[in-house]
């Protein structure tokens, strides 16, 4: 039975047959990490396994001393009596779904994932399985992502308008993943692009991994005489309202997040613009992905778990809530977590 493959205990999602955990939240011997965000790749595990594409960013997160092994997408590895392989999850660079096969039963832990296009990561692949573990960060029908190209066009138009008004454009998004995806959509012919230090470091890792991104400059390395009024600055959300932004003088602020789909969330943040750009699945993709896996059973973690489980159950599917300590898309906005 599929249930036997995985269970959740105090430390995380555990596979007994392989003696490993997926994205554990307490120190364990063997951890497979789906991706390098801090709520999934935590320090303190003896051994880690991650995707080859995600090796650099995971190494950056976990430090030089961590014991990390990597696996190419699609490559199979036998751990104990479990056959394990990693498959693209489309969330951020190197994000993986973990496929676990024990005695012909297949479970897939998808971590965080999205099915929308993203030039900075390998595209999501649906995998047939008996048990599918899905996130539900945006598991409500109100979340339906606009076409990525139109969002990028909006961002570039905002940049041009700011230039015309003589003010800098401060674009904020999570430093790992969102910032690079947003960067990939910027049109460098409009002007110079500058990065906040934390975004810069991770962007360099993306480039080393072969991701093609527009040329950028590191803010701390440019001289004092920069004409910020024409510039695009990409920074993490924590930059908002901090003394760090004073150097730009007059500027317009924008935030890239799935939460920006709702007006109240946009307005509460007192931003000039909110761009709907998410690295998680929206409602239609969540449902179509579950269908594509042909899973007999679905476990739902972080986000609108109860809602999604109730909905799937009413559709006649076997679904249950999985209590985990994953956080989904926080974007430094504790308020949203309380609401999710």
């Amino acid at each position: 039975m599929a249930k036997a493959i995985l269970r959740v205990n105090d430390c995380g999602i555990y596979c007994e047959a392989g003696g490993f955990y997926v994205d554990p939240w307490r120190p364990v011997d063997r951890a497979i990490v789906t991706h390098a965000h801090s709520d999934h790749a935590r320090v303190g595990m003896k051994h880690y396994l991650c995707s080859a594409e995600g090796y650099r960013v995971t190494r950056r997160r976990l430090g030089d001393d961590a014991s990390i092994e990597s696996l190419e997408f699609g490559e199979q590895k036998t751990i104990g009596s479990a056959k394990v392989s990693l498959h693209p999850a489309g969330h951020i660079l190197g994000s993986a779904q973990v496929r676990i096969e024990v005695d012909g039963q297949i479970a897939v832990v998808s971590g965080d994932y999205k099915t929308d296009p993203d030039p900075t990561t390998a595209p999501f692949e649906p995998i047939r399985c008996h048990l599918f573990i899905t996130e539900s960060t945006f598991g409500l029908p109100i979340y339906r992502w606009p076409d990525q190209a139109s969002v990028f066009a909006e961002i570039n138009a905002w940049w041009r308008a700011n230039q015309a008004a003589g003010r800098a454009s401060l674009l904020m998004g999570y430093a790992l993943g969102k910032a690079q995806r947003a960067l990939s959509g910027l049109d460098p012919s409009i002007g110079d692009i500058y990065l906040h230090g934390s975004v810069h470091q991770l962007t360099e890792l993306y480039r080393e991994q072969g991701v093609n991104l527009p040329a950028t400059k590191l803010i701390s390395e440019v001289g004092p005489k920069v004409d910020w009024s024409q510039a695009m600055i990409v920074a993490p959300p924590s930059a908002s309202g901090s003394p760090w932004v004073r150097r730009f003088g007059d500027h317009s602020t924008a935030f890239c997040s799935g939460w920006m789909a709702v007006r109240g969330t946009r307005r509460r943040r007192a931003l000039d613009r909110g761009f709907v750009l998410s690295d998680h699945v929206d409602w239609p993709s969540l449902l179509s992905t579950i269908q594509a896996t042909q899973a007999q059973e679905v476990w739902v973690t972080h986000g609108y778990r109860d809602t999604v489980v109730r909905y799937l159950t009413e559709l006649g599917m076997k679904a249950k809530v999985l209590e985990t300590q994953f956080e989904g898309e926080l974007d430094d906005q504790p308020l949203e977590v309380a609401e999710a």
Partner: protein
């Protein structure tokens, strides 16, 4: 509609006044006049009535989205705004139809929608929803739900129209007063460089509004340069007499002539070409009654003889804006008062001139102000004697110097979600005070906290809900707030038996345990005290 939706989004997206104005200037400079007229109407809050029942809208949207009702409920809970929730859950728009201009929506589509039977309403609305994108749907839902609001003041709209037409804002403000029908002709005359639109008889002038005084009145300079009078607690109104007809306008630019026949009657004694500015008050003997009495007259379209006899009203005039057909607004206040007093000397029924409160020093004036509450006034108004009559809320010429409010410490007992910016946050609070060992509902208030405090209270409400009734949550009694209000009176409509005027949150009393909140008998004593002061006067 697309263009107006873009304007709405641009205004909604920013907190910066200049950007809002720039977006409106851009719109008014380029939109066809027949659409611009409706944009003006919507922006200044002349919104149409609700065209479709909102429960029905939610039901149809739920079915169209193919989701169960409970799931729509979850969505609504998360979004906090019905029109927006509907706009988000509907399936993606179908074939882009041809763009329907704003005036077509406002003049044909929406009136039809409001008129037809339910089945047809559903058919039409479904069709409309599916031809619009999310922004368009949201806007449509807001307009047909009678809840269209946008974050610009009338003053900003005026400024934008003025910029777009290269005219003076006061002129635009004046042309926007009174009755008008949104049409291409109206918009053309609004932005016309010539005076053709000025002769509308009914049109009042834009009201001059006062700011609360900052710091001490003695900072205003020598008292001799100032005119002091009571700050009346009634309905601000202009009485316009032109072409043998009388029009009474409220500050909300509502024509209230029929509601106040006594005030209309004043007109028959005034010469044509006269406009008075003042306050309508319920009057008993030689002083105004408490505001509560006047409330019985507000909201009544037609007034019975009994009510007229029970609550007679008068106009306390404090300014004159037009006389003998001449706009007097540029004259100094002392000159306008002189003309006003001449009218006062004619002893016209139901008009009295707001008397000057004399004092030879600011200290002496402060002493006079102490008597405000017993006079049923809100304090004093201070007006510069050499000032013209300004448009809108300008600083410097008119100040209100109100008496300190009454305060009560009350316990938060219910919380409901707010709307607009505060949608999805618990910001509308109901407070209780002790009656024996029970907390009874005392007042509602939803303003006065900082954004940070709102967030904290919101998080607390979510953790401390006891019960949920629709949008309202009952919470554990624990948080104490100091409420301020302007007046208090007996009421059989409230559980506590008391009604307060202008309740608002003064501060969060984190230092006070809820058991030590005020008691109903303390508040009743406050009322008795006030009344005895009133009688002793």
């Amino acid at each position: 509609m697309k263009r107006f939706a873009e304007l709405y989004s641009a205004i909604d997206a920013t907190n910066k006044t200049n950007e809002k104005v720039a977006a409106m200037v851009q719109y008014f400079s380029t939109a066809p006049p027949e659409d611009a007229a409706w944009a003006v109407a919507l922006l200044v809050g002349r919104r149409p009535r609700r065209a479709v029942n909102s429960t029905k809208m939610a039901q149809w949207a739920t079915e169209l989205a193919g989701i169960p009702g409970w799931l729509f409920g979850e969505c609504y809970d998360s979004v906090g705004d019905l029109g927006e929730t509907i706009s988000l859950v509907l399936p993606p728009k179908g074939q882009p139809g041809s763009e329907v201009p704003l005036h077509e929506w406002m003049e044909h589509r929406l009136p039809e929608l409001a008129k037809v039977l339910e089945d047809r309403q559903r058919e039409l609305l479904t069709h409309y929803w599916m031809e619009l994108d999310q922004a368009g749907r949201f806007l449509l839902n807001k307009i047909i739900g009678g809840a269209f609001r946008v974050g610009v003041s009338q003053e900003l709209v005026i400024r934008a129209i003025a910029q777009a037409s290269a005219l003076d804002p006061p002129l635009i403000a004046h042309r926007l007063m009174g009755e008008w029908i949104p049409s291409a002709e109206f918009f053309k005359s609004l932005v016309s460089p010539t005076d053709e639109g000025e002769s509308v008889d009914s049109r009042p002038y834009p009201f001059c509004l006062a700011h609360p005084i900052e710091g001490s009145p003695s900072d205003l300079g020598p008292i001799e340069e100032w005119h002091a009078e009571w700050k009346w607690d009634g309905i601000r109104a202009q009485v316009v007499k032109r072409g043998d007809r009388t029009y009474v306008w409220s500050r909300g630019e509502e024509l209230i002539t029929e509601r106040f026949p006594e005030i209309e009657g004043i007109g028959s004694w005034l010469p044509n070409g006269t406009v008075l500015d003042g306050e309508i008050l319920a009057w008993q003997g030689e002083s105004p009654t408490r505001f509560g009495e006047l409330q019985r007259r507000i909201g009544r379209k037609s007034v019975s003889k009994q009510l007229l006899a029970a609550v007679p009203v008068q106009l306390v005039a404090f300014d004159i804006l037009e006389f003998e057909g001449k706009d007097l607004r540029q004259l100094e206040l002392r000159e306008r008062r002189r003309i006003l007093n001449e009218i006062g000397n004619q002893a016209i029924a139901n008009v009295r001139i707001s008397p000057t409160v004399f004092a030879d020093s600011w200290e002496a004036l402060a002493n006079e102000r102490e008597a405000s509450r017993s006079r049923n006034v809100e304090g004093l108004m201070l007006k510069r004697l050499d000032s013209p009559y300004l448009v809108g809320r300008k600083k410097g010429a008119w100040w209100k110097w109100k008496i300190d409010p009454l305060t009560v410490d009350a316990v938060l007992i219910y919380a409901a979600r707010g709307t607009g910016k505060r949608a999805a946050l618990y910001t509308d609070y109901t407070f209780g005070v002790w009656d024996g060992d029970r907390l009874v509902t005392f007042a509602k208030a939803y303003s006065g906290l900082t954004d940070e405090e709102i967030r904290q209270v919101d998080a607390w409400v979510r953790r401390n809900s006891v019960e949920k009734f629709g949008p309202v949550r009952t919470v554990t009694p624990e948080l104490v707030f100091e409420l301020a209000f302007e007046g208090i009176q007996l009421s059989n409509r409230h559980k506590s038996g008391l009604a307060v005027r202008f309740p608002r949150i003064l501060r969060w009393r984190k230092d006070k345990p809820y058991t030590e909140a005020d008691r109903l008998e303390d508040i009743r004593a406050m009322l008795t005290q006030l009344e005895s002061e009133g009688i002793s006067d």
